[in-house]
């Protein structure tokens, strides 16, 4: 009844010696740079996204430092505007959108499917280099004065301000193609490269989430591409499409921009939710409650995300009728989100729970996604949104879903799949301490911001009236705690690479398909083609051998 019997012990079924792992398979920098191995590509993506994450995170620390006191603290207003724009642009386009799919997804997806690689390995490598090229354009823009438009590039400010706007917009444009090609690759891989026995109804929820994300990446990103292209043409050739003096409409830009960027936020959250499924299942030793409801919810979220874009524009001057329609549609997304939260919580009931470090991040996700999702209700409701739009309330809301949910899930996934990727363990005690620092720091930064926004503090402000100072200071101190936790966590991972303990092949006693391969996997992921005869969460069918030596005493 087991899934893959012999592979994890490293013995092939008559195919001779097991292959060496993918890290030791070939040596030298070039063997990595021109690799077609999805695992190595995933690792390269991981390193790149982490570099961008640290950079954009430092930008955030600078923003919060400036806001520690009213008036000038560290920098002038114009510099501040460039710093917060960089934070947003780099975090959105170079960290959060690629992080889970391209870094973790690339590594895990084919193994979880029982496949040797993705459908189009060379396209995969091309995706990576396109992403790097986009990053180079971004760096070039920074060197040439950067951009002060905010990551949303609203016209006419973005078409008339000085700065290296076209270079930065090109960076996002190019990175978008990386996203599209990765999406194409994953869709085809999930369709065509499932191992025998892996029916759609046995598809791990991580892959359902990646699948829904990939559909969004393919269909939504091109609209961003055309929007950015029009913006660049407006700036370089003055075509007048968004310029009111030339018969153009600045609000049209917002429609175009948010038609992509709303699905984009689902590109950000769906992979986070996808990881949480795996973490909760493994650390409760249960199939996620309501498996079918959960994957249908993922697809529903992907579909609904296309229908709600103008809820970012309730104050933009749209008609009352349009506002009504978009408010009503926006409430639709609350339902599948709620269904998922209830199912995840329900999975804990009468389960067998092990709170290892990945699970800490998974549980924090549940708490923080409640807050992020429920504060979305304030914003979907027209009357309250009018008051809260463009205030710190919105900033807090989206940081709760993008950071409190997705980044926590990403960190959880990083901890969870770290042994699989590196063959090493990290120090569990340090991981837990870092988690708590990150958790406390993170909530200290963003919880006060709901109050700031409700009290009327607008966003993207360099300076503020004295009555807002206390909460800003609390928020800034939180950022320091978060930074300590974050940097220490990174240091912990580096230490793991240098002298971490060797990982057993199934360190988390998981029944997930990816734990059936050796840890770390050989080049073609398995020594023998796996055949799946049970679902990935069928703990009642998994044998003791498959789950490995019990790690929890």
């Amino acid at each position: 009844m087991a899934a893959i019997t012999t592979d994890q012990h490293g013995h092939g079924h008559g195919s001779g010696e097991p292959d060496v792992d993918y890290i030791r398979k070939s040596k030298g920098l070039m063997s990595w740079l021109i690799t077609l191995d999805h695992k190595r590509i995933g690792v390269m993506y991981l390193i790149s996204v982490m570099v961008f994450f640290v950079f954009a995170g430092v930008m955030a620390l600078l923003v919060r430092a400036e806001l520690f006191t009213p008036g000038r603290t560290l920098m002038d207003p114009d510099t501040y505007n460039r710093v917060f724009t960089l934070h947003g642009v780099v975090m959105v386009f170079f960290f959060i959108i690629p992080a889970v799919p391209a870094a973790l997804g690339n590594f895990v997806l084919p193994i979880m499917l029982g496949a040797k690689d993705v459908a189009f390995p060379r396209l995969n490598l091309l995706s990576y280099y396109i992403y790097v090229l986009g990053g180079c354009f971004g760096i070039f823009s920074m060197i040439n004065g950067a951009v002060d438009t905010g990551w949303t590039f609203y016209t006419p400010y973005s078409t008339t301000t000085n700065g290296a706007v076209v270079w930065m917009v090109m960076a996002a444009f190019i990175a978008g193609f990386s996203s599209i090609l990765t999406g194409v690759n994953f869709i085809v891989t999930i369709h065509k490269l499932r191992a025998p026995g892996l029916t759609w109804s046995r598809l791990p929820l991580f892959l359902w989430g990646i699948y829904a994300t990939s559909i969004l990446q393919v269909l939504a990103t091109p609209v961003l591409a055309i929007t950015l292209l029009l913006l660049m043409l407006e700036r370089t050739m003055d075509i007048g499409i968004f310029d009111p003096h030339k018969g153009g409409d600045p609000v049209l830009f917002q429609h175009f921009f948010w038609f992509y960027s709303h699905p984009a936020v689902y590109i950000m959250i769906l992979p986070g939710m996808a990881i949480v499924n795996e973490i909760i299942a493994t650390f409760t030793h249960r199939k996620i409650m309501g498996y079918r409801a959960v994957f249908i919810s993922s697809l529903a979220l992907a579909l609904f995300s296309f229908l709600v874009w103008a809820h970012h524009m309730f104050t933009s001057g749209m008609s009352e009728y349009a506002n009504m329609v978009f408010s009503a549609l926006t409430f639709l997304v609350a339902i599948p989100s709620g269904v998922k939260v209830f199912n995840w919580t329900g999975t804990l009931y009468k389960a067998s729970i092990w709170v290892a470090s990945p699970m800490l991040y998974g549980l924090a996700f549940l708490f923080q996604f409640c807050i992020g999702g429920l504060t979305g209700l304030f914003l979907a409701t027209l009357a309250t949104d009018i008051h809260l739009h463009d205030t710190y309330f919105v900033v807090a809301h989206f940081h709760y879903v993008m950071v409190g949910s997705t980044v926590f899930a990403f960190f959880g996934g990083l901890h969870y799949w770290w042994p699989k990727m590196t063959g090493k363990l990290y120090d569990e005690k340090t991981a837990k301490i870092c988690f708590w620092l990150i958790f406390v720091g993170y909530n200290t930064v963003f919880l006060p911001q709901f109050v700031l926004g409700s009290r009327g503090m607008p966003r993207r402000y360099y300076d503020y009236l004295p009555q807002f100072q206390f909460l800003h200071q609390v928020s800034t101190v939180g950022s320091w705690i978060l930074a300590i936790g974050g940097f220490w966590m990174l240091f912990m991972f580096v230490q793991s690479l240098r002298n971490g303990k060797k990982s057993p092949w199934n360190p988390w006693n998981s029944a997930g398909y990816e734990w059936g391969s050796p840890t770390p996997p050989p080049l073609e992921n398995f020594n023998k083609q796996p055949v799946f005869t049970r679902g990935p969460y069928d703990y009642h069918l998994a044998t003791d051998a498959e789950l490995g030596e019990e790690q929890v005493k």
Binding site: V184, V223, L230, D238
Partner: protein
């Protein structure tokens, strides 16, 4: 986007269990991670359709902008459309339609393993694409000569290559004065839409040339013609986009000879 097309010689030989040579059940062109040729072919097709889906969404933004601005500036759009050369536009439409036919025929020939026939059809497709671009060049040239340019460049005749203004011509200036106020919006959209389309034609030529090279090299057979198939798919989309562009840009308020207006 024909990355799915593979030769074993592109792989790290370390990957390929069979050492990269042609084998009965694992031929050169079958990548190592696929079990059967059918699987690889299906995957390439799904991949290309997914890519075409995003291309459609890419152009759709422009069509939405067109719909909005045409609703607001109907008269200007009609006037702008009248400035376009319908004969050249219609000719280009026929050329592209024909090239879709030759592309489809090249796939058919490739499916039948007929290498030289495939070559001919591909060459014809490329030739059509070049004709399209040449006609486009003449069209654009006329717009530049008459100052029918996008956005703030509208109203000044310019040299197409150097972009510097041409000596003023009273007849041209008079003609421009007669055009309705927002005609420049039409031309902004005209150049962005046809320009983006032309870029896709140029990319298509590049891909077809590569497919031609591979065909001449003998890469394709009855068992393996996937790259030709998916390139033709891409080409059909390029044609399809033009089928929409032509009436929307060239035929606003068009009434054939003998009709009332």
């Amino acid at each position: 986007m024909t990355e799915a097309a593979a030769h074993a010689d592109d792989h790290d030989h370390a990957h390929d269990e069979h050492g990269g040579e042609h084998h009965g059940d694992h031929p050169k062109w079958l990548q190592h991670h696929w079990d059967t040729p059918a699987q690889q072919f299906d995957a390439a097709k799904i991949g290309m359709w997914a890519f075409l889906g995003q291309e459609l969404l890419f152009f759709s933004g422009l069509f939405v902008a067109y719909a909005i601005y045409r609703t607001w500036f109907g008269e200007a759009f009609a006037a702008g459309s009248h400035q376009l050369d319908r004969t050249m536009g219609a000719a280009n439409t026929c050329v592209l339609l024909f090239s879709s036919l030759t592309a489809a025929l090249s796939v058919r020939a490739s499916q039948l393993g007929k290498k030289s026939e495939t070559t001919i059809w591909i060459l014809l497709t490329i030739a059509c694409a070049f004709i399209f671009l040449i006609v486009k060049y003449f069209e654009y040239h006329a717009k530049f000569d008459h100052g029918l340019l996008p956005g703030s460049f509208f109203g000044t005749p310019r040299d197409m290559l150097s972009f510097s203004p041409l000596p003023p011509d009273p007849k041209v200036a008079e003609h421009l004065q007669e055009l309705p106020d927002h005609t420049h919006v039409f031309f902004s959209l005209y150049f962005v839409m046809t320009g983006l389309h032309a870029i896709h034609v140029i990319i298509g030529i590049g891909v077809w040339v590569w497919i031609l090279k591979r065909n001449l090299r003998g890469d394709f057979s009855k068992r393996y013609f996937t790259p030709v198939d998916i390139t033709a798919l891409y080409w059909h989309l390029v044609d399809l986009v033009w089928i929409y562009l032509f009436p929307l840009l060239y035929l606003i308020d068009y009434v054939p000879h003998g009709g009332h207006h």
